[in-house]
């Protein structure tokens, strides 16, 4: 058995999708096991400690740190409003007193007689966690969150921008090699998750954001355009927090690359359904891939879901996609797995596979440069 160096991206017609929805700090879970939830429903909430304002009262009022408690008008735990007096010196014979006023509203958290520093904590920041997908609550993590499960079609992308959102799946391109352009996007795209073909150009992305499309799924996108849209070079592929207005999910890679046929056809067959999409990507330890989750109607879930066996790795007959030049993005199947290392045009000696491409051409590709198509 050969190692497949690159685990393939998942594209499944029907599978169980389980998502854990957790708070960053302990809080309140608002639903219970067995509840049916929808994607936009808040399932847990908590408060993040508010911002801290440090004020060195000793320096500001020319006091010794050890003395400031004597001149504080508020003590630890007291509430204080903006501009309210915080500390006041005794002055000279009751005159020339100096007062320092609080720059913010909040609570006095600490007064240090070692450093002379006072910390004021502002109001807590509420944090909410939504369900993200329509489904059923299958597990409760007390004070932390829930697990929500659904039967859905599932598509993984290779790179994305933007975070979680959802909308009605809408095919904008009719062929997987079509370029998605500005002219194809209009007001009717508001609130929708759009599906393109081989490329989304920059004007089209701007238009999608402008009309309020929730997301765009497309085969390719230019790296130069990532820089344009973010305003900076994305040095490392860790995304998901961009507030573009529209979540972007790329299925194939950078450049103009035809969307894989299976992926395109699956999306087409589900047009009109609600799709949850997340552009968050992390290409490092703890890899996170962007995804589209399309819950299936209740009656469809009555069909048996085939249990997916453990991956066999690459074998003769395995369906693969080429993931580097030359033949980038082309599909094929493995016809041979030579045991010996082979010499490439670079003169490097590597493990290769022989692949019969869709065109019928048979080529030698380094095993590291193909990914398995996994169902």
């Amino acid at each position: 058995m050969a190692h497949a160096y690159t685990p393939g991206l998942r594209v499944a017609e029907r599978t169980t999708v389980l998502k854990e929805r957790r708070l960053p700090l302990p809080g309140e879970v608002l639903v219970k096991e067995g509840d049916i939830v929808n994607a936009d429903q808040v399932v847990a909430k908590t408060d993040l400690p508010g911002n801290v304002q440090p004020i060195n009262v000793a320096n500001l009022l020319s006091l010794e740190p050890a003395d400031i408690k004597e001149f504080m008008l508020k003590k630890e735990g007291d509430a204080i409003k903006k501009d309210e007096p915080l500390a006041r010196t005794a002055g000279l014979f009751g005159m020339f007193k100096r007062t320092h006023h609080s720059p913010v509203s909040g609570t006095v958290e600490s007064v240090s007689d070692v450093t002379g520093q006072v910390l004021i904590r502002e109001a807590p920041i509420p944090v909410e966690v939504k369900a993200y997908i329509d489904g059923t609550v299958t597990e409760l993590f007390p004070n932390e969150g829930i697990a929500v499960e659904t039967t859905a079609a599932y598509i993984q992308g290779i790179f994305g921008l933007g975070g979680e959102t959802n909308g009605e799946l809408t095919m904008v391109c009719s062929e997987p090699d079509e370029v998605l352009t500005e002219s194809q996007i209009d007001e009717s795209c508001r609130g929708k998750v759009l599906v393109g073909g081989s490329l989304l150009d920059l004007p089209a992305l701007h238009k999608a954001i402008q009309v309020g499309a929730k997301g765009v799924v497309v085969g390719g996108f230019n790296d130069q355009d990532v820089k344009e849209v973010l305003g900076y070079d994305l040095g490392v592929a860790i995304t998901g927090h961009e507030e573009l207005g529209t979540t972007l999910l790329i299925t194939e890679g950078f450049g103009k690359i035809r969307m894989a046929e299976d992926t395109f056809n699956l999306l087409k067959s589900l047009e009109g359904r609600k799709a949850s999409i997340n552009g968050a990507t992390q290409i490092r330890a703890g890899v996170i891939r962007p995804e589209v989750v399309i819950p299936l109607a209740k009656d469809e879930t009555k069909k048996d879901i085939e249990e997916k066996g453990a991956s066999e790795g690459m074998v003769i007959g395995s369906q693969v996609r080429v993931i580097r030049q030359p033949h980038f993005g082309v599909l094929g199947h493995v016809t041979e797995l030579p045991a010996a290392l082979q010499k490439l045009p670079t003169e490097g000696m590597v493990r290769v596979c022989k692949v019969k491409l869709e065109s019928g051409e048979e080529v030698i590709i380094p095993r590291a440069n193909v990914e398995l198509i996994e169902k």
Binding site: P7, P24, L25, V52, N56, S110, V226, A285
Partner: protein, 601 residues
């Protein structure tokens, strides 16, 4: 059962990298330790496997296949060796899981904060940010920064023993107020190490004990004239193993298998570099350019320094190399026409599919152009960090006053550098060794006479951890099997004019003829000289050029040859410049590639 680590006959060692896990088998044969075989498998920290031991076992199985030895009993490592089965000791290093990400804080940026940074880097960590009382940020900005970052650990230092405590206590207050959230989840208490003024300890404990997992160690800068980084480094390493590694999938199992604690890969590589410098009595720079980071290690004036450029690498952070270097800097090394937008897409695709390899010659040249920039930028970061201690009152005599040098100067001296060792896929796996030599020369610009070498199959990490157990075994394998000697670079310092004599060189290869040549400024050529007996070299630099003995002063020495032999480089040092004109530059690059026999026609 206690092991006799002195009399080991065989060593099995793995290194779990961010992309691949490498396993090596070392055996004692005819009284010396030698590398027998090496195996490799993809690292398995991520889904679907999520267990680092699987990748390690796969790599060890490959070693079994290639060596014919049985090392595993199912999923169990057989140790100690019994007859032909098993190995006497099993060791491992790791950088998988993104390594250890730390924040450090000190009072004065160029003193205690910098010492804290050195402690963290020396322990094998990635330093996310350095906070200092005098770093120009407002207190609320420092708090925001701590809240925003998700460090695995914080190292707090500041104040010499017996000095003032207020500044370091203030830093502790800021840390407590920020309530930093570690990246490893809700229930996890952030480890904080306090290594500052001992008089402040009770206050620090009072402020941080409840909210964090606080450990107190000896002051890492007890007096200004001296750093004491050892205790902090050891504590960082212990906590790393206990808190961070233990959380990463499969590590608790891996930790139970090894005979000595797992070392972070960069810590181990640093260890073997220090060992070489010590044993061979030379000044060394080592570089490990990986997928995510580029680590540089140096020993100058017996002082070891390490930097991690966590933002420069050949796959995960390759887009960052483009961001930091800029398109022009990378394109200047590409010896053919290329559309910048196309190059951007190729780099982006490598970033999102990091395990792919170049298949065409064009792709290989692009990767090696990027590598030059990654190495160059990482080295700039290293040079500014590897400096003498600041804050010291020096006794000055008259000549010092005229010299105008201050402490805080870089220790890195390319003229006195004896050896440059490269490691990491793009260097070690370069299809032709001369490509690796060329990348090292272009990126580091060695001066005078410098030996070049690569780690043949990047086993430096494993040798580094082996050196802690058996120095002799590590050194044997390093000098005999690990290092591939590329040759020696001869490069005079100075600026000249093309077609004007720069130097005269005479090279006497053992058993061969003497090559005498008058070299013009702007040349690059190779004199073949295989590694074996040292080669006699005499260089007479022209007026204005320096080979280490002073301008115009001749030097005579014996140098090792290697796969590339003696590489004479008079293209310029201080400055080194590529032609500004695109066509001229491409022509020059192609000529140099030919001179180096770098690529097939």
């Amino acid at each position: 059962m206690t092991k006799d680590l002195e009399n080991i006959q065989s060593v099995l060692a793995t290194d779990c990298g961010s992309t691949t896990t490498k396993a090596i088998l070392i055996e004692k044969r005819d009284g010396e330790y030698r590398l027998i075989v090496r195996g490799e498998a993809p690292t398995t920290v991520e889904a679907p496997v999520e267990d680092v031991t699987k990748g390690a076992l796969n790599a060890i199985r490959e070693v079994e296949e290639l060596s014919g030895r049985t090392l595993l009993d199912g999923e169990k490592i057989i140790t100690p060796q019994e007859g032909d089965r098993g190995s006497d000791v099993y060791l491992s290093t790791s950088s998988a899981g993104g390594g250890l990400q730390m924040m450090v804080a000190g009072v004065v940026k160029s003193m205690t904060a910098e010492s804290a940074e050195r402690a963290a880097l020396g322990a094998g960590a990635i330093v996310m940010d350095v906070l200092a009382s005098n770093d120009g940020r407002r207190a609320y900005q420092r708090i925001e920064r701590i809240r925003h970052l998700r460090p695995d650990m914080i190292l707090l230092s500041g104040g010499i023993d017996g000095g003032t405590i207020s500044h370091v206590v203030e830093l502790a207050e800021l840390i407590e107020a920020a309530k930093p959230r570690p990246r490893l989840g809700i229930g996890y208490q952030l480890p904080v190490i306090y290594a500052g003024n001992r008089d402040a300890r009770p206050h620090i404990e009072k402020i941080l004990e409840e909210m964090t997992s606080l450990d107190v160690v000896d002051n890492l800068r007890p007096v200004l004239e001296r750093e004491n980084l050892g205790p902090a480094r050891e504590k960082i390493h212990d906590l790393f193993m206990e808190h961070v590694m233990a959380q990463a999938p499969g590590y608790d199992k891996l930790m139970s298998w090894t005979d000595v604690p797992i070392m972070p890969t960069p810590g181990a590589v640093g260890n073997i570099i220090q060992t070489i410098a010590e044993v061979e009595k030379i000044e060394v720079v080592g570089v490990d350019i990986g997928g995510a980071t580029t680590d540089i290690f140096s020993v100058f004036q017996d002082i070891f320094n390490r930097t991690v450029s966590a933002n420069l690498g050949m796959s995960y952070s390759v887009s960052n190399v483009l961001a930091e270097a800029g398109m022009d800097s990378i394109m200047r090394w590409v010896p053919f026409e290329m559309d910048p937008a196309d190059l951007r897409n190729r780099i982006g695709n490598k970033m999102i599919r990091p395990t792919t390899v170049p298949q065409t010659l064009e792709e290989l040249m692009i990767e090696q152009a990027i590598a030059r920039e990654a190495l160059r930028l990482a080295f700039i970061q290293h040079k500014s960090f590897a400096v003498g201690l600041k804050g010291i009152q020096q006794e000055r005599n008259i000549s010092d006053t005229f010299d105008q040098t201050a402490t805080g100067q870089s220790l890195v001296n390319m003229m006195s550098l004896d050896m440059l060792v490269g490691s990491g896929g793009v260097l070690s796996h370069a299809p032709r060794r001369q490509q690796a030599a060329f990348m090292l020369i272009d990126a580091f610009l060695p001066e005078g006479i410098t030996q070049l070498a690569v780690d043949s199959i990047f086993m430096m990490p494993q040798l580094g951890v082996l050196a802690t157990v058996h120095k002799q075994a590590a050194t044997d394998v390093f000098t005999k099997d690990c290092l591939i000697r590329l040759g020696t670079c001869i490069a005079p310092v100075g600026e000249g004019k093309p077609n004007k004599t720069c130097m005269k060189i005479s090279v006497k290869v053992p058993g061969g003829e003497t090559v005498d040549k008058e070299v013009m400024y702007g040349e690059l050529f190779v004199i073949p000289a295989p590694y074996g007996e040292p080669v006699e070299v005499a260089v007479e630099p022209a007026r204005g050029f320096d080979m280490g003995a002073g301008k115009g002063k001749a030097v005579k020495t014996r140098v090792p040859g290697g796969t590339s032999g003696i590489i004479v480089d008079t293209r310029g040092r201080r400055p080194f410049e590529l032609p500004a004109d695109h066509a001229e530059r491409v022509e020059r690059l192609q000529a140099w590639n030919k001179a180096m026999d770098a690529y097939p026609e």
